[in-house]
């Protein structure tokens, strides 16, 4: 295959999608175009030491428009968002922000890890990703704190506000849809 044939396969839709979506929230996302594949990012990556996750490769996939390769490989969920790569990129690419953006796009395409669907469910139900349990209630009492903390756990109206927001932003629906994908 000649290089001109390879270039024909570039699909800039995904590149543009990442830049457009990411730029709603973060600065300098368009710098993703200027990656020189130096691997400072992967060389700084604690997760890449343990797993097949190569963040440099994700940046290349974004440049080449390889959407399915990027969002359907669950190694994107190996990143701890430690920001070491983002701090050190010599091309000032907000690498971790690109990871967060690509993950958002994956979820919008119905791709999530089963355990993440569960955690999202906890937020929707309790307003806490880690709700209280009986063991901690007992510790709180024992050390002189209120049995329930003064969070949404103590204020049903406040929990109602959070639920209303999660409905309003479309989050509840988004997770419902993604959970169907997970079950498939």
């Amino acid at each position: 295959m000649s290089s001109s044939q390879l270039i024909k396969k570039f699909d800039t839709d995904f590149t543009n999608e990442v830049i457009e979506y990411g730029s709603k929230f973060f600065e300098d996302v368009e710098n993703v175009r200027s990656c020189i594949q130096c691997a400072t990012c992967t060389g700084s990556c604690p997760s890449g030491r343990e797993t097949a996750w190569r963040v440099r490769k994700l940046i290349r996939q974004v440049q080449l428009g390889l959407k399915n390769a990027a969002i359907k490989n669950d190694v994107i969920w190996d990143c701890t968002t430690c920001f070491s790569c983002q701090e050190r990129c010599p091309r000032l690419i907000p690498v971790t922000d690109v990871v967060r953006t690509v993950r958002n796009i994956a979820v919008r395409n119905g791709i999530m890890l089963p355990r993440h669907v569960q955690v999202a469910g906890l937020l929707i139900k309790y307003g806490h990703a880690v709700p209280i349990n009986d063991e901690t209630k007992a510790v709180r009492k024992e050390i002189g704190l209120s049995e329930l903390p003064p969070t949404v756990h103590s204020f049903p109206d406040a929990l109602g506000e959070v639920k209303k927001l999660l409905d309003g932003t479309g989050f509840t629906k988004l997770i419902e849809e993604a959970s169907k994908g997970v079950q498939k």
Binding site: F25, T81, H116, T136, L165
Partner: protein
């Protein structure tokens, strides 16, 4: 007396309430009062919810911030995850008018509005900037002489530096200075700046990957002969404390048992706070070997 709005988050009140008690009691010794923010939710956790849907993440974060705005106070907290979320949300909403409009549109449905009047300050900044190592040193009643401490900052205290705007994240020293202020000795160890392994939804989504990172960090701290690890992040604390027991269970052996204490718990020990009130007896990995060394 100065006052801060205390944002509890999830893990502090719901898993390590001793951190809540230690932090309130310790700051009170310096005439700083922490007032609870009533009705707050999950921050929401940056690694998971920021990865799922950034607009939702910002909206729920903004609601939490409005509670401090109503109190007329700046926010403090005991979790780098909460810090990452609330500080970055505040930063984004102060710099991005389009998003501010969108997010306030969501908040108007529950009668709230983000105004941007409360700053977000990490508790370690109160310890270091508002109080300072010297005043802490002056209050020591039980010096931690001879105690070797592995400091773990956690990723999100200083990174991303373009958002945090708190200086160079590569080689911070404020945790070490606080540890030295109470007579203990910070030790260098391999991969000190490395992540605990829990963030980004990795603990929730891929526990084995998270635990392998944790194991490597604990190994390095053990090689440096640390008596404990200290951190300003309850999520890192959870990962080291619960994580060691999970690793031990996987191995079927009691191999890892490095005590894990929050920075306010460690300073609290030197300033005479009760280990029991600080919940140290309820940590997964027994803190007793550390207490024995301190109170020998």
């Amino acid at each position: 007396m100065s006052k801060y709005a205390y944002f509890l988050g999830c893990l502090t009140p719901n898993r390590y309430p001793g951190i809540e008690a230690a932090t309130i009691d310790l700051l009170r010794m310096f005439d700083i009062e922490l007032e609870y923010m009533k009705g707050t939710s999950c921050c929401p956790a940056p690694g998971v919810f920021g990865s799922f849907d950034l607009e939702t993440w910002l909206t729920v974060a903004a609601r939490n911030i409005t509670i401090a705005e109503e109190m007329g106070r700046d926010i403090t907290l005991t979790c780098n995850g909460c810090f990452a979320t609330l500080q970055e949300a505040d930063h984004i909403l102060k710099h991005n008018r389009d998003l501010l409009k969108t997010i306030n549109g969501h908040l108007s449905k529950i009668g709230r509005e983000y105004k941007g009047t409360s700053s977000v300050v990490h508790v370690i900044e109160i310890l270091y900037n508002d109080i300072g190592p010297e005043r802490i040193s002056d209050m020591v009643v039980q010096p931690l002489d001879g105690v070797k401490v592995a400091c773990h900052y956690g990723c999100h205290f200083l990174k991303p530096s373009s958002v945090r705007q708190r200086g160079n994240p590569e080689n911070p020293t404020i945790l070490e200075e606080l540890v030295e202020a109470v007579g203990a000795t910070p030790v260098d160890y391999r991969d000190k700046g490395m992540c605990c392994g829990a963030g980004g939804g990795v603990r929730a989504g891929k526990i084995d990957v998270a635990l392998e990172m944790t194991r490597k960090k604990i190994e390095a701290m053990n090689e440096a002969e640390a008596d404990c690890v200290t951190t300003p992040c309850v999520f890192c604390q959870f990962q080291f404390d619960m994580g060691q027991t999970e690793i031990n269970n996987k191995l079927g052996a009691d191999k890892y048992h490095l005590p894990v204490v929050f920075i306010t718990q460690l300073i609290g020990l030197a300033l005479g706070l009760s280990p029991r009130r600080m919940g140290l007896h309820r940590h997964r990995i027994p803190v007793k070997p550390l207490l024995d060394k301190i109170f020998a």
